[in-house]
């Protein structure tokens, strides 16, 4: 699939932005700056980037507990994300959602999701609204290999198929659900094979290669926009760090395995390819990296300097039309 020079730059910028965001967030979490748990997605950048390269702000995505990459690829502001994770009032959700619940309506980001499998029907619903409104937008649902054990994925795939909804099911198979290897918990070698049971195309994609993801996603999203119904993409990928910041992955996986995946790192792969094909040069790549390094540093400073949510925020946003006043004491 043809990629414009601007798109190429966007792809690299986005992948590197995710990478830096996650690395810096981990450092900050260890320093105690992030208030809760941080589920990082470095290693998996090619997936959200290759998919969201085809989306606009009018398209919707549903995400997971490991949602930073999805947010960034959908154009969500990194300073607002960092502030949210720091529990600050300037965060995208005023500090009320945290890492596992970052949402940005304006960007078509339905929310990271603390409940495994729960984001899937939301993306299907967004696709239903697209279909009913006839506006040509799509819903994309990101979920992990582990989430395919939940009923919501099966129910959602069937619903999307019988209603021919413009939705793309994107399974980020990073081979583990917390400590559980995918072979233990999933009955098929390729999760994409399950798509056949719901009469939709199922495609296995190299989730470490952003060009492969870009191509597969382009086809699936075009199909959806053309009213031809859902597609299931399985991205084979790997998370570089533990399940969350304090998890030691070596209690359940080998360093040798990690090295094999890191040898296929999506960023150097991209760099090599664009330089070989004369599409971008090292100077430009470095300029992008420097810009992003600065952006993420600024995001941390912004988050750090931002105020905590005011006390009254505890009671607001429970409903649209009245301020909740039932308190725990008189």
């Amino acid at each position: 699939m043809e990629i414009t020079p601007e798109k190429l730059r966007w792809i690299y910028t986005t992948m590197y932005r995710i990478r830096r965001f996650e690395e810096v967030l981990l450092e900050q979490t260890v320093l105690g700056k992030s208030m809760g748990v941080a589920h990082t997605s470095d290693g998996e950048e090619a997936g959200p980037t290759g998919i969201c390269a085809h989306l606009t702000d009018a398209d919707w995505i549903g995400s997971t507990h490991r949602g930073h990459g999805h947010c960034i690829a959908k154009g969500v502001d990194t300073a607002g994300m960092m502030a949210e994770i720091f529990g600050k009032y300037t965060g995208l959700c005023k500090g009320k959602g945290g890492s596992m619940h970052i949402a940005d309506f304006a960007k078509g980001m339905l929310g990271a999701n603390g409940i495994v499998g729960a984001g899937i029907p939301l993306a299907v619903g967004a696709a239903l609204s697209a279909k009913l409104k006839g506006n040509g937008t799509v819903g994309v649902s990101f979920f992990g290999d582990g989430a395919t054990g939940e009923g919501t994925i099966h129910e959602s795939m069937n619903l999307a198929s019988v209603w021919k909804l413009p939705v793309i099911f994107v399974c980020e198979n990073n081979h583990y659900a917390e400590s559980t290897p995918v072979e233990y918990a999933v009955s098929v070698p390729d999760i994409a094979d399950r798509a056949a049971g719901y009469s939709m195309p199922g495609v296995v994609v190299d989730g470490m290669d952003v060009f492969a993801v870009y191509d597969a996603a382009g086809e699936a999203i075009a199909r959806a926009r053309a009213g031809e119904g859902p597609t299931f993409l399985e991205l084979k990928t790997y998370r570089y760090h533990g399940h969350y910041h304090a998890d030691d992955p070596h209690t359940y996986r080998l360093p040798e395995e990690e090295e094999l995946w890191k040898a296929r790192d999506p960023l150097p792969n991209f760099e090599r390819r664009v330089i070989e094909q004369d599409l971008m040069d090292e100077v430009e790549l470095e300029r992008i990296r420097n810009e992003i390094d600065q952006e993420i540093q600024d995001a941390v400073a912004f988050a750090e300097e931002s105020p905590l949510p005011p006390i009254d925020e505890l009671y607001t946003d429970v409903y649209t039309n009245y301020s909740n006043s039932v308190r725990g004491l008189r």
Partner: protein, 325 residues
């Protein structure tokens, strides 16, 4: 007696139950090689093997439901959820199956299953991960709901829960796992449905359960400094509910405060307060005082989250406002 943590008490309870009855088995997400999300099942896979310590896919509806089925068919499953919040995914199996099968089958079938899950908030896991639902489940006929506050009760009640022929929701407040307390070295059971007076006093009865007891004990300590003698009643289980012990205490002290860390509206604290008022109004110096969690989803940001969680100061404050002591 040996001093151990709440977590160790639960683990000993599981070991004893696995040793005592070959029909007992455990299942849940990452409970085997990974030792469980809160390390309660540490080392059990090694000792008892994968048939009895069974890792599951992330399929709460399926494995909780399979627990119900296995229980009906003669085993004694102890099912672990990573969080009580995730029990919602399996709530149909819990409320429509586990709780009703015996009744609907005219007493033919029984469901000797225990569903263990960490409950509560306070650690910035935000709204979807900080819930308890023990009061929801306590409103369902057919379920037992057990809510220990100490290592002693955790071990003794877990043993009783596993031996019980009914489905038991076993709520483990996550803030309690690291707390310590003495337990007997010999095997023992704590009966389900018997409240426990955790501290005796003469001026006011403080009623709570699970982590609420930590707050109430600290409040009682604080009250003692100003010469107020508080009695702390730990319900230990919400269903069956031992109101007798509560009423006896209230009729002795003439004052009562109920602490419910969950949402206030339609909370279990309301049930207790109403029952005390109904049964003991002649003995009371004023209305039953209530302290509860705030009726909002749990916010992520720490200061905001803390603002919604009952604190010792709230208890003191509420007692002062209600009774002027």
């Amino acid at each position: 007696m040996t001093e151990i943590t709440f977590r160790q008490a639960l683990q000993r309870g599981l070991r004893e139950a696995l040793d005592a009855d070959p029909n007992v088995f455990l299942m849940g997400e990452d409970i085997g090689k990974y030792d469980g999300a809160y390390a309660v099942t540490q080392g059990l896979l090694e000792k008892y093997g994968p048939d009895r310590v069974r890792d599951t896919p992330i399929s709460e509806a399926a494995f909780v439901g399979a627990g119900v089925g296995a229980a009906v068919a003669g085993l004694r499953p102890v099912v672990e959820l990573m969080s009580m919040s995730f029990s919602l995914v399996a709530s149909d199996q819990i409320v429509n199956m586990a709780a009703k099968i015996r009744y609907m089958s005219g007493g033919q079938l029984k469901v000797p299953m225990v569903l263990r899950a960490p409950t509560g908030g306070g650690v910035q896991l935000a709204a979807t991960h900080s819930q308890s639902f023990e009061n929801w489940y306590a409103s369902v006929p057919g379920l037992k709901v057990v809510t220990p506050s100490t290592p002693y009760d955790a071990l003794g009640l877990l043993r009783s829960s596993i031996e019980d022929d009914n489905p038991v929701i076993f709520a483990e407040n996550a803030l309690l796992y690291a707390t310590r307390g003495d337990v007997p070295d010999a095997e023992y059971f704590v009966p389900i449905g018997v409240a426990d007076v955790k501290r005796t006093g003469t001026d006011i009865t403080l009623v709570g359960w699970a982590h609420g007891i930590v707050t109430l004990m600290a409040a009682a300590e604080k009250l003692a400094e100003t010469g107020v003698s508080a009695e702390v009643v730990d319900l230990r289980s919400l269903r069956p509910l031992d109101m007798e012990t509560v009423i006896e205490s209230v009729e002795k002290t003439g004052r009562a405060l109920v602490l419910d860390e969950n949402w206030r509206t339609a909370g279990f604290g309301a049930e207790i307060a109403a029952e005390i008022g109904y049964r003991s109004s002649d003995y009371l110096d004023g209305p039953v005082a209530r302290v509860s969690g705030t009726d909002t989803p749990s916010p992520y940001s720490r200061p905001l989250e803390q603002l919604g969680i009952p604190q010792v100061a709230w208890v003191i404050d509420e007692i002062e406002k209600t009774y002027g002591i």
